[in-house]
Amino acid sequence: MPVPPGHVLIVSLLLFAIGVLGVLTRRNAIVILMSIELMMNAANLNLIAFSRQLNAISGQVFAVFTIAVAAGEVAVGLAVVLAMFRNRDSIYVDDVRLLKG
């Protein structure tokens, strides 16, 4: 490993925090999905870093599974965004408040 594992973890921590910030501050549903992808990537980076650190290949196998699940999640998420746009003419999440009391 070229750098101390702590530095890799810091990078993934930063990416995760940026993803959280994106989900919380943005109203555009597509950008929110992108922020979720950022968080998943941060988790993947952790898996890879620990796989190298502990010399265990299963971390990389898990990372591949995560990528597959992320692909399915994006497909369904974007389909939901499309349905939302068709019904509400908006992709801003604060325009969808039917369940709000």
Binding site: V31, E37, V69, V76, L78, F85
Partner: protein, 167 residues
């Protein structure tokens, strides 16, 4: 500092910077382009961490497939106004929350002491792909099959959700 370490820090800085641009850009198209940059530099990080197969999958699936999906939907939805409402108090609150979460994770990291792994990695017997394949089809065969069913369900679900409703 070795060349690999310098490359790591450069790629990491670029990944984080591009991620900031993803959530800062007003236009979703710009966000998507910056997201590709993040994904590609993270593929570079995976390469430096000796996970060649995951790096290849990252480029193929994320930078290839997922980004095309994002761009398609952005073009389909085609909102021309970039006047996204942002509430100042909300932004400050979210920033505080994200910072608090980061501090929490950092504190958990601080609990453990990790030595830098040195020496040859045993993950590379006959190339990384072979090791991943061996582990995936020996230890994780059932999850592998379940993921394939999950992808099928996601595909059908996406078609059902996005289909033009019959009039």
């Amino acid at each position: 500092m070795s060349v690999a370490a310098i490359a790591f820090y450069l790629l990491a800085a670029f990944a984080v910077g591009a991620a900031v641009m993803v959530i800062r850009s007003a236009s979703p198209i710009h966000s998507a382009i910056w997201l590709v940059m993040t994904f590609l530099s993270m593929a570079g990080l995976y390469l430096l961490l000796e996970a060649e197969f995951v790096a290849a999958v990252q480029v193929l699936v994320y930078a290839g497939g997922i980004m095309v999906l994002f761009l398609f939907v952005i073009m389909l939805v085609n909102l021309n106004d970039v006047s996204e409402r942002r509430i100042r108090l909300h932004t400050a609150l979210s920033g505080g929350l994200a910072l608090a979460l980061a501090a929490l994770i950092l504190r958990v990291y601080g609990r453990g002491r990790l030595e830098t792994a040195t020496g040859a990695s045993s993950l590379r017997v006959g190339g990384n792909l072979e090791a991943v394949g061996q582990s995936m089809f020996k230890n994780a065969l059932l999850p592998f099959e379940i993921v394939s069913v999950l992808l099928l369900v996601a595909m059908i679900g996406a078609i059902v959700l996005a289909r033009q409703p019959r009039t």
